[in-house]
Amino acid sequence: MNNEYDIALVEKYFDNELTEAETAEFRERLSSDESFKLLVDQEKVLIQGIRLEGLSKDLRFLKSVESKYSGTETIQIGSYRKMWYYAAAAIATLAVAAVGYFAFGPKDSTDELFAQYYEPYVNAFEPIDRGGVNTPPTARAEAFQAYEGKDYARAATLFGELLKTEKDPGMLLLLGNSNLMLGRIAEAKQNFTTLLNDYDELDIQAKWFLSLCYLKDGDLENARKMLKELGEMEVSYADKAKELLKRVD
């Protein structure tokens, strides 16, 4: 069992914060203390895992950038409609998978399920203008830019301000996602509920993220209800969803 001192020493080593004396101690312990070496190796595995996750996430992002090209290169008209169709299909698939997971899968905690299924929604509403260097960005452009740059705190502030004067379902969806990323579940829930009740667009997306808010709160009853509704919608995979829901019931 390693003590707190050893752990702090190892962490400082990987964070490049060791003093000269600590470096000497680290080296000495590494060559003579097997349990200390195991601790160092474990830290290497964890950091490698973190880096692999980061690279995988960025790889998925590049694939989403690439998919925009295949859409515009092959289909010019209706590409946006097609994008929504794919988004709806993807959400329905996730909903079916999540319902199936609740019914048949191993019982993980709601936090674990949330972490497995939640990914912030991609900004599909206002692509960032990367060429316009001569004109100052509008508050709206800044908000989307902050969201794409993962600056969710700033994105939430800017979207919140903009939504006071402008009704925009896309911005509201991304505000909800920003709040979710910041761990502000109550606010996110409020955003998605408003999107669902006061707007005519993005209902499927609002329901999906609202179900994840319930999940994060441990409110399984409402999470199940919302996921079932999603599975029953007339989108791709609806037949499979109905079939699976019959079995769940």
Binding site: G54, F61, K63, E66
Partner: protein, 191 residues
Amino acid sequence: MTQDEIIEKIRNGGQAELGLVYETYREEFLHWVVKEFNCSTDDSQDIYQLTILVFYDNIKRGKLEHLVSSVKTYLFGVGKNLVMESRRKAKRNTPLDQERWLNEYLMEESDYAPTEQMIGNARKALTRLGEPCRQLIELFYYGKKSMEEITQELNYKNAETAKNQKCKCMKRLRKLFEEEQSRTLIETSYE
């Protein structure tokens, strides 16, 4: 914008900058790979995505600070090596498996080679860790952001608070990893 300015922009940026680089050199790179190495469109895209990730990762880790040539020349060089390498491995592993390639890429930078199962358990632990811990340690260990930058990005009170939080998150991650390792050990002993 000079080559060094491009590097600086990427170092301080996030996915928006990554996307910008991807889109800037995409057409020329894909055309070149298809023509030069007779790759399929899908393969050339896979190669290009990994090439951009290596470029991005090298900048983030401080391995690439100045370019003697242009970004384009650098990318083409990385891309060529990647095609050659994937062709060599193709005999035993076709087509190019990007996830596996990334795993091997990370193995090469370390003097310790963990098993795939250990890396899998680390990733499971990371998934169980949840937000905002996961984002915090990813920004630090993968994004190579400073505590000051993380403070701003995740809205912490100050850098000290962010650092304390990072230590707590790592402590929790170690515990979750040990749980995953024990679970694997029990499952293996029952097989």
